[in-house]
Symmetry: C2
Subunit: 494 residues, 2 copies
C-alpha cells in the first residue's frame, strides 16, 4: 500500500536491527570468520549512515517560516467560520471547484506584475517547471479557458502561497486560506457586481465581527483625482501604489514617500491628502453617473436600509473592500494616536481580461468576484475565544462508556459497538482496566454530556447506569432501552 | 488588499494602455518632439516585453502532470464521500488538526527510505529548504513532538504529493487526498488497533463499495515465512520488496524478478509462491499467540458476526489493508485472466518509533492509524455516477426568481433579498430582461425545485406565482405568505 501509514516506519533503524540480528546469529552459530567480518562491516556502515543523517538532537523542530499548524481548537473555529461562509455561497447558488496546489510556472507568468517575485517555485527535478498557486483567481481563469466554460458561479476555498514578509499575529502568513466567490459570464452591467457586495455584507454580518463598511472604488476615478491634484500623467501608477499603502501606513509617511522618493510636488501631495481625508463621502464624477446610479439602485434593492453599509458607491469596473470598523486604521490620524491594525477582511472586483489571456483564441469571459481574507477573521475569533474563556469543544463525543470495575473491557467494547452502530458518538478508555475517577474526569474535561456506566451487577441484571455529566444525576436504564433513552436525553440537551 | 481578486488584472496590458494614452495625449497637444519620442520609446519597450512574455498562442493550457482539477460534479461526489468519512471519525471522538503543505526538508529526511526520491522539493529562493509533504503521518509525528502532545485521537484530511508515475484512470495521482485517523498514546495492547480496523469496516460499509476484506498482517511473520522457504537472511528485505509488488504485478513477474534480478534460488521462490496463494488462510505462529487472541477477541466484540470481514488475524505491530473484492487483483492468476485493478483502498498500522525520531529527548509516543485511499474511492463513485446516468446536483438552489415580463429587475432583486435573508437558497438571471422560457429551462436543467414568478399584475395585487418545476403546477400565494409557503413546500419535498 503506497498510501499506508505503515510505510513510514524508521526504515534505517529497522535495517540496523535486522543486520544486527544477522551478525548475532552468525556469531552464535560460530559461523565463518570472513562472513562474520563482512556482515559486521555492513552493520557499521549502516550505523555510520544513521549518525550522518540529521538526528533529533540538532534538529530544528518547527513549521516553515510564515506557516503554522492548526490545533484542534483552531480547527473548530475554522470549521465554524467555513460553515458560515459556505452556507452563504450556497444560498446564492454557487457550485465549487478545486485546482491543484501547483500550476505550470508559465500559467502564473505575467499575471502578478512585480509581485511575481513572491511566487514559490518548485525545484527543477526533471519534467515540468511548477509554481505554488499565488491566488485562486489565476487558476480559476485557467480552468475556465481550459474547459471552455463560458459561465459559472463558483466558490473555491483553498490555501495559497506568497513568499511575503509574514506578520503572524496580525493574520499575515506565507500559507493562507482564500475564500473566493466569482461570477463568470457575459451578463448585464452591475447585476453580478451588486450580488458580490451583498455576499460580503451577509458574510461579515453573520460572522458577527462588529460594524463594518464596504468601500467601492474604481481605478479611473483615482486617476481623475490625481489629475485634479496636479499629479503628472507619468507619475499616476507610482503615486497610486503609494496611496495603496494607506491601509497599512500613516498618511505622513506616504506623503514623505511621494515627495522624497517619487519626487512629487508637495502641493500636489497635500491636495491628495485632502481627498484621502474625505473618507466615506461620495466623490462625484459625471461621466460615470449612469453606472453609479444603476449599481447604487441594484445594491439598494438587495439590502434593507438598515443593513446598507456601502460608504462609497462609485462606478463600473469596481474594486471592493470590506473593512471592520473596530479594527480600522485611519490614515488621517497622526502616528501614535492609534496602532496600525487589520481592518480589511474582504476584497474583490472585476477582471474581464484575464480568461482571454489563457484562451487560445483570446475569447473573453467577463468575471467579477470577492475574496474573504479569512486568516484575519480566524485571528479575531481566536483572540475572542481566549478572552471570553469560552469553552469550545474540539470533539463532538456524546457518550463515554465507563467501567466501574476491572475486567470489563470486552463488555465495554460490545457497548461501544452498539452505540457506534446506532450512530451515537462514543468514546471509551484505551486501557484494559481504567480507574472510574479517571474516566469521569475525562468526561468533564472533554465536555462529554453523558456516561454509560457498567459494573458486574449491571451486566447480570441487564441494565446500564446513565449519568448526566453536568448534573451528575444517574439513573438505571434497561439494556434494551439504552439507545432510545440516550437519543431522547441528547435531544433534550440540543 | 493583498488578497484582492482585483490584483490579478493583466498589469502589463494596463501599462501599455496607460502609456498609449500618454503618447496620444502628447501628440494631440502637439507636445515637445523629444518628450514624445521618449514616451513612444517607453511604449515600444512595453510592447516588446509583452511579446517576449509567453502569449496564449503558444501556451500549453493544462494541469501539471499527475494532477487534475475537480469539476463541480466531482466536488459534489467528494463532499459526500468526505461527509461519510468525517462523520465516522467524529463518531469515534476524533479531533482534527492541519499542518502546512510543505515542511522543512530535513523534517522529511530519512523517513521514507528509497521512496525519498519521490519527494517534491521547493526551489531554493533564499531562506529555508522546503519540501511538499509526502504523507500526513510524518507531519503528524512532527506536530506531536513539537507540541509535546502525549496522546490524541485525530483525523486529518488533506492533499499529499509524490513524484510517482501517475495512473490517473486508476486513481493514482501525484497530488492526492489522504484521510488519516490515528490514535497516539501509551495504551494497553491492541485496544486502539482494533478500533482502527472497526473504523475501516464502518467507512467501507457506509460507502457501499461492495464486499471487502480487511487483511491484517505483520512484517515479522513474513520474515518467518521467508526463513521457512529457505530465503537467505541477507535477502529478506529485498525479497520482501518484491512480494510487496504483488498488489500491482502478477506472480510470475515477481518470481522472475526474485530469481533473475535478486538471485534467489528458484526452489525458494516457488515455496514463497505457495504461501502467496494461501490467501485468506491463517498462518499460525505460536510465539505471537497471545496478541493474536487478544486482537481477535477485541475485534470480535467490536463487530457483529455478520459484518466481521477480517480475513487474517495475525499479531501485534500489525499492518492493515482494506481491499474491495469487486476490484481485487489476484496475483495467483495468470496474466490475461484478469486485468490489474485497484482493490486496495485503506492501509495502516503501528509506527511506535516515529515521534521519538523528532523528540529532542527521544521520548516515544506509540501510534497506530489508518489511511483511506480516497482517490480510488472517488474514481469508483464517479464511474458509477456516469454509468447510472444519475443526476447529481452541483448546487443546492431551492428557488429561482423569474420575471414574466421586461423591466422587473429591481422587483426581482427585492425578492431575492427577502429570500436570502430568510435563508432560502435562491438564484435569478443576471440579465436585466431575461426571457421567461430561458428562465424556466434553467430551473429544469439545474434541478431547482421551485420558481417564484412575478409579472406586473402580481406586483400590483401583492402576490407571487409559485411553480413546482417537476409537476409544473402553479399557484398564487399572497406576497406576505411567500416565505412560509416556500418553506412548507420545501419541507414536503425533503
Amino acid at each position: 500500500m503506497a498510501e499506508s501509514g505503515a510505510d513510514v516506519k524508521p526504515k534505517l533503524q529497522d535495517e540496523i536491527r535486522a543486520q544486527g540480528e544477522i551478525v548475532r546469529k552468525l556469531k552464535a552459530e560460530n559461523g565463518d570468520a570472513e562472513k562474520i567480518k563482512e556482515e559486521v562491516d555492513k552493520l557499521l556502515a549502516l550505523k555510520k549512515l544513521k549518525e550522518d543523517a540529521p538526528s533529533s538532537k540538532n534538529f530544528v523542530l518547527k513549521c516553515p517560516k510564515g506557516t503554522k499548524d492548526y490545533t484542534p481548537l483552531q480547527m473548530a473555529i475554522r470549521e465554524s467560520v467555513f460553515n458560515t461562509i459556505i452556507t452563504c455561497f450556497k444560498r446564492h447558488g454557487a457550485e465549487t471547484i478545486d485546482t491543484p496546489v501547483f500550476e505550470l510556472k508559465e500559467t502564473l507568468t505575467g499575471k502578478y506584475g512585480e509581485d511575481s517575485k513572491l511566487i514559490y517555485d518548485l525545484k527543477d527535478q526533471g519534467g515540468e517547471l511548477l509554481s505554488l498557486r499565488y491566488d485562486l483567481t489565476v487558476p480559476f481563469a485557467r480552468y475556465l479557458a481550459m474547459n471552455k466554460v463560458m459561465n459559472i458561479k463558483r466558490y473555491h476555498i483553498a490555501k495559497v502561497y506568497r513568499r511575503d514578509n509574514p506578520a503572524m499575529t496580525r493574520g499575515r502568513f506565507r500559507e493562507f486560506y482564500q475564500c473566493d466567490f466569482d461570477i463568470a459570464g457575459q451578463y448585464d452591467p452591475m447585476i453580478p457586481d451588486a450580488e458580490c457586495i451583498k455576499i460580503v455584507t451577509e458574510i461579515l454580518s453573520k460572522l458577527e465581527l462588529g460594524d463594518f463598511v464596504i468601500k467601492v472604488n474604481h481605478r479611473k476615478l483615482l486617476d481623475g483625482m490625481f489629475a485634479a491634484c496636479g499629479v503628472p500623467d507619468d507619475k499616476f501608477r507610482t503615486i497610486c501604489s503609494s496611496v495603496d499603502k494607506l491601509d497599512k501606513t500613516f498618511w505622513e509617511d506616504v506623503r514623505t514617500e511621494m515627495i522624497e522618493e517619487k519626487k512629487l510636488d508637495p502641493e500636489a501631495a497635500d491636495k491628495i491628502g485632502k481627498y484621502v481625508k474625505l473618507q466615506g463621502k461620495t466623490v462625484n464624477s459625471a461621466c460615470y453617473h449612469t453606472y453609479t446610479t444603476n449599481f447604487a439602485s441594484y445594491y439598494t434593492e438587495l439590502s434593507t436600509r438598515e443593513s446598507s453599509k456601502v460608504s462609497r458607491v462609485l462606478l463600473y469596473r469596481v474594486i471592493y473592500e470590506g473593512v471592520l470598523k473596530g479594527f480600522t486604521h485611519d490614515p488621517s490620524k497622526k502616528k501614535g494616536e492609534e496602532t496600525v491594525s487589520v481592518g480589511s477582511v474582504a476584497g474583490g472586483g472585476r477582471y474581464d481580461g484575464l480568461v482571454g489571456m489563457f484562451d487560445p483564441k483570446g475569447r473573453k469571459v467577463p468575471c467579477v468576484g470577492v475574496s474573504i481574507g479569512i486568516e484575519r477573521v480566524f485571528a479575531i475569533m481566536e483572540a475572542r475565544a481566549i478572552a471570553a474563556k469560552s469553552k469550545i469543544r474540539t470533539t463532538e463525543t456524546e457518550v463515554y462508556v465507563v467501567s466501574a470495575q476491572k475486567g470489563l473491557l470486552e463488555e465495554r467494547l460490545k457497548l461501544c459497538r452498539e452505540l457506534w452502530d446506532a450512530n451515537i458518538k462514543t468514546e471509551q478508555a484505551y486501557k484494559a482496566n481504567p480507574k472510574p475517577l479517571t474516566q469521569f474526569q475525562y468526561c468533564e474535561t472533554a465536555g462529554i454530556p453523558l456516561a454509560v456506566i457498567i459494573g458486574q451487577s449491571e451486566i447480570e441484571n441487564q441494565f446500564v447506569k446513565l449519568r448526566n455529566t453536568v448534573t451528575r444525576e444517574e439513573k438505571n436504564v434497561p439494556r434494551d432501552q439504552m439507545i432510545a433513552e440516550i437519543k431522547s436525553e441528547l435531544e433534550k440537551m440540543a
